[in-house]
């Protein structure tokens, strides 16, 4: 009797453990995110967890081809720059919001206008601040006028999700945030903060009905739990895995490891304006040659990264394949150190935050030790870290590790904020570099821009304000029945996924 009761209990628990149930025949996907989406309002978003969810609820103005990285039509079907500062767009006339109202140019205008409204306090303001006016000139035509030639306008408009003007006017901010309503492939169904967001497929979506009927995004902050969720079948896709999880995923026949090249570049930046020894370009070059990025990729990242010689990936606009980078060469590092007056070694402060993989920081410390450089690691919480390294006094230490992504695949979003004189991230200054990147952002002529970025990258190669380390690979664990190819811009479009048998 007791055995029978135990067996029944075990069966009941097993059924319950299988997770959310769906109507027979429907396809459900559970995605484990690293954190809680902070907001589902595209204008107020700043974190990737929010982005991963709401991009499925809203349509986007433009689309980036995951294979070629080219910018393609989405809601906007055609565009032309009639002058260096005036752009005309035509938009689709068959898109409807989930409440049945048509998406028109006035909605695009409103989506941009709220981001540009300083009182609205959009974290994305800086990406669109070059826009002077935006005007719907008809139901399906739109004009954008920029205050200066803005070559990355289209790249930024890839990130623009379109909200309904009428819906945003009818509801207050907290309501619109808690009940997002867009025109995308999935409609909002439920949101329990800190736990999950559920979306349901829109059968009449203009691109066609998505294969997956329901998707639940769960917040699972602990990496080991995300992996356990995959192993126990509670989730079919887990984000934010590390090289430590590679073996576990690969060993499990029910799972697959998906590695996606990204536009994020890891780098080691120097304080070239501070009071420390790295004011001297020879000392900076010595450190650059002492770092062995290839070993770090092989040993720490299990091979899941690609070497780079500049702070751009080959897919970035402005990438120059001729930049040589800094090959690992300890003898040269020692020689450069001696030339800079540090033959007896030197001591540097490595400013960092637990946000970054501390194994990498410590491994770099170990590699520099071999060149006679003593590195003291000073770690701060991310907020304090940002405050320190962005201080105009440039008194934050000597070197720092970072990963840079502009979500725009353009050199303008990378090397301009990192190295332009006066930028809060920059502890470097050079008039020739400043002129080159200023020139590149003041024209729409692609050839002229490429030439200017080539000049700028050569200045950086000479002055060594940073060491480019690698192109980051995003690691996802998934059920082996999930068909999906991660994209370079790390977009999580569920409509591009399918669950097979």
């Amino acid at each position: 009797m007791a055995i029978r009761i135990l067996a029944a209990l075990a069966l009941a628990l097993t059924v319950a453990a299988a997770g959310p149930t769906m109507t027979t025949g429907a396809t459900a996907l559970t995605v484990d995110l690293q954190g809680d989406p902070a907001t589902l309002d595209p204008g107020r978003q700043y974190d990737t967890n929010s982005y991963d969810v709401y991009r499925n609820i809203y349509d986007n103005f433009l689309h980036r081809n995951p294979q070629t990285s080219a910018i393609e039509a989405d809601v906007a079907t055609a565009w032309t720059a009639v002058s260096p500062t005036e752009w005309h767009f035509t938009i689709r006339n068959d898109v409807r919001f989930h409440d049945g109202t048509p998406l028109v140019a006035a909605d695009v205008e409103a989506s941009l206008a709220r981001i540009l409204d300083r009182q609205f306090n959009s974290p994305q303001y800086a990406n669109f601040s070059a826009i002077a006016t935006v005007k719907a000139t008809g139901p399906d035509t739109l004009t954008i006028i920029t205050s200066r030639p803005y070559p990355v306008l289209l790249a930024q408009l890839v990130n623009l999700s379109i909200v309904s003007k009428a819906y945003m006017q009818a509801h207050d901010q907290p309501y619109a945030n808690a009940h997002p309503m867009g025109s995308g492939p999935y409609r909002f169904a439920a949101w329990l903060r800190g736990d999950h967001v559920t979306l349901r497929a829109v059968p009449a979506y203009w691109r066609g009905r998505p294969q997956i009927d329901e998707v639940t995004f769960r917040t699972v902050p602990e990496t080991a739990t995300r992996v356990a969720d995959l192993q126990s079948g509670r989730a079919q896709l887990a984000l934010g895995l590390t090289s430590d999880d590679v073996k576990t995923i690969k060993r499990d026949p029910k799972l697959q490891l998906l590695g996606g090249a990204t536009e994020r570049v890891a780098y080691l930046a120097f304080n070239a304006l501070g009071p420390g020894p790295l004011r001297d370009v020879r000392a900076r070059a010595a450190i650059a040659h002492a770092v062995d990025a290839a070993s770090l990729i092989r040993i720490l990242l299990a091979g899941y990264a690609r070497s780079v010689t500049e702070l751009l990936t080959s897919r970035h606009f402005g990438h120059d394949p001729k930049i040589p980078g800094y090959p690992h060469d300890l003898a040269k590092a020692n020689q450069l150190l001696a030339e800079s007056g540090h033959a007896g070694g030197l001591t540097l402060v490595f400013t960092t935050s637990p946000t970054y993989d501390q194994r990498i920081i410590q491994a770099i410390q170990g590699q520099l030790e071999q060149a006679g450089v003593t590195v003291k690691i000073q770690s701060y919480d991310f907020g304090t870290y940002l405050q320190k390294i962005q201080s105009p006094q440039h008194d934050w230490g000597d070197l720092r590790y970072g990963q840079w992504s502009c979500s725009c695949l353009d050199a303008d979003g990378v090397i301009y904020p990192l190295f332009h004189t006066g930028s809060i991230w920059s502890s470097y200054s050079d008039p020739a570099f400043d002129k080159a990147v200023d020139d590149a952002r003041s024209t729409l002529d692609a050839a002229a821009r490429r030439a200017a970025y080539s000049t700028a990258l050569n200045v950086l190669q000479r002055d060594v304000p940073a060491v480019p380390l690698w192109e980051v690979v995003a690691l996802y664990g998934a059920d082996r029945h999930l068909h999906w190819h991660p994209t370079v811009d790390e977009q999580l479009f569920v409509a591009d996924m399918a669950l097979g048998q």
Binding site: A16, D36, A126, R218, A224, T225, D229
Partner: protein, 309 residues
Amino acid sequence: MGRFMAGRLLQAVLVLWGVSTIVFVIVRLSGDPVALMVPQGTPADVIAQMRHTLGLDRPLHVQYLRFLAGLARGDLGTSYVQDAPALPLVLQRLPYTIELTAAAFGLALAVGLPLGVAAGTRRGGAFDRLALPLILIGQAMPSFWTGLLLILIVSVRWHLLPSSGSGTPQTLVLPSITLAWLSLATIARMSRSAVLEEASRDYVRTAHAKGVSPRRVVVAHVLRNAAIPILTIAALDVANLLGGAVITETIFAWPGMGRLAVEAIQARDYTVVQAVVIVGTAIFVLTTLVTDVLYGVLDPRVALAGAPS
């Protein structure tokens, strides 16, 4: 009793005001949230403008007065990060933390108390010798380790219970065992020593001499007198459980208040941190008050008036 309650309520208000003032100052000492809210590459003037719109560039005393005025109305401000009123955000998470804490506390009490009493009444016996090392192991195991071990065995290997999440009774089992583990050991150890101390007293010898059955001696006499120290530890443990729930909530993706607190602190979401601390303090004050009342119920010698008798 009436005077006692009035005095304690006044104390509670003072404690809440003091704690909210301290947390108001401390979160602001930790730095500015705006730098964490914008994408990389945002120029300094845009950051400054955001700071101004959020009112974070105003003098501290102006911000404090606004905070106090809001507090008096029960309005703890809007979360900078989550774009929603802070107090409802916290109150929405509170039932999950209470559910987890109550389940863990119930489990710790249901297992720890009989374990401790049994070990105490048979001091030096086989059971006592077996229970003591188990209690020590329980205290030595950190919850992040216990939790992951339970997930690996029960969820991944046996497929018996969900590895994470909330919403069904099954999802509560593993987190509450994980959270109860440490408290169980504390309660068992405390009950054992309290029972041991009482068992050597004269009234126990008298009861035995009168021919009262050993079970009745333990239940009616020893346990009643041992209840006060056990209750004290158990009440303190509720506060520990609430605090300790952070790690358990993180491991099991449980949407409780602890996790919200950690996320808010990391993002410097001032208003949410303040709301979490104020709500947490209110719970702690309430628990202490209930404990004090229970003292009076359990032991008539404890006078609730607080006046010397």
